[in-house]
Structure formats: structure tokens, C-alpha cells
Amino acid sequence: MRWGVVTFPGSLDDSDARHALEVLGEPAVALWHKDRSLQGVDCVVLPGGFSYGDYLRAGALARFSPVMECVIRFAADGGLVLGICNGFQVLCEAGLLPGALIRNRHLSFICATVHCRVEETDTPFTAAYSQAEVLALPIKHGEGCYVADAETLQGLEDNRQVLFRYVDAAGRATEDANPNGSLRNIAGITNATRNVFGLMPHPEHACEALCGGVDGAGIFRSVRVTLSDGLPIRTASVPPGL
């Protein structure tokens, strides 16, 4: 399989994402914001940073770049799209994911390692993890507070679209474990068809022991496993009645 990592003006973590993929033995191509082709990649990564200076709203201007037209079509056709931090904000602005990301509850930019619980494993992005596994992942953002209206939130829960939640080290989704005020401690969500995933934590910064941990590598491995072997069925996470 082939990965593509998009670079917008103001992207910061595009080379880190390509580096992480290289460490994991995954070939990745660099995609430019003006590109009108995704060069046949199997999964697109929208990296962290401050695309277009975060002017107007984070992700609002990147959403209209030529490459995003390709990404939107690719996602509509079932292509896999992973948005990390600013990439998550772009996906929400593009309407590929519901809700929005607003200023952190305490207004400060947060750079820290947090714990996230894997909520669902029957997705292309989390298949390599165990249900309820607690991961240590870095976050670094000023606008990571996930919000959506009550109906949207209920829909996300009912369809099991919340993939990562902020928790404490013991795996409890407490208020204290919520770094930015995100509703329901949401750290990452997928779309209804489970081929688009956005998250605020940075898995690409957690793929080497040298960088403090390898808990993020599972996301990239999940995509690889899904594309080569198909999606494993994990009945444990399917609620009764389905």
C-alpha cells in the first residue's frame, strides 16, 4: 500500500508523519496543497500544524485548497483519510466529520502527554488495538475542544463513532483527564462509514521509543492490516441487538 501526506502552507508535522511511516516501513508520498491528484495513494494523512495560519478559523481555509477537492472525492468513494490535530480541524471544516474544534477550555496552548482509551476496534484505524486499551499519546494544540450539538453527539455514541476518549492512566474518562474541555472527553471520531478518522493527539510523534513511546504506531498498523487482510470482525464491541 501507499500513503500520502498532504502539505498545506503552514503544516508542521507533514515531515514527521512521513518519518513515522518510514520508521514503520511504510512508503509515503508527499502531496502538495495545489495538487489535483492523490497519485494513487491508499490512505491520505492530513497532518498537524497551522494551515493557512489558522486564519478565520483553524482548518477553514485549507478546506478550499485544490488537494482537498481530491480528498473529499476520495473519502466519498470510501478512501481512507486520517486527520491529525490541524488535519482533524480541516476534516470538520470540510464536513467530512461532524462537529467542530474550538479554543481549549482554559485558553492555553497545551503540550503534554495524555492518556486515550481505544473505544472501538472494528475500524480501519483501530483494528490493531485491543478494546479499551489505554494509550499514552502527545497532544499540542490551542483549539482542540471538540463540540457538537446534542443530537450529533448522541448519533456519534449510538453509531460507535467515538474512537478515542481522553482518560486517566487507569482508563477512566474523568473531568480531570480531559485536557481541553472536549464534550464527552472526545479525542477522536470517525465518520458514519468509518473511512475517515480525525483525532487531536499525535500518533506520528509516538512511533519510536526514542520519542517517548510507540503507542501511536497502532493506527498506522491498523490501516496496513485492514488494507492487506480486510477488517477483522470484533463482535465484542457490537452492542446487543445488532
Partner: protein, 79 residues
Amino acid sequence: MRAKVYVTLKAGVLDPAGKAIERALHTLGFEEAHDVRLGKYIELRVDGDATQAAGRLDDMCRKLLANSVIEDYRFEVGD
């Protein structure tokens, strides 16, 4: 046509910046200030007559200037 666009946070959406401003106002002795909400004000010039401009401005707000998930907008068209 000159136009003024006001983008405001929807009722119920958290506004930590508005809260911080409110606390600062209270610290300065303006205890009568409440419910501070921070929004955006955008000035622009739009070609066409007032009716055309209003229609186009509405499009601009829906497509870019406001995010309907969290924000409301209103605008004024004038000379």
C-alpha cells in the same frame, strides 16, 4: 457596496475567551458586565446592487465566513 458581517458564537457553545474577558472586566471594577461573548466583525466591499450583494453575502457566510456548527451570522449592506 460596503458590507459589515458579524459572526457570533451560537448560544450554548462554550466561549472560554469571552469568560476570560468577563473576568478581566470584573477585575477592573466593571462588575455590571455579564454574558461576554467574543465574536468576529468583517468589513468588505461587494460588487452589485444591494439585493445582489445580500444574496452573495449570505452565500459567503454559509460557505466560509461562519461555521454553522458553532456560529451564527448577520450582515448589513450599505454605502
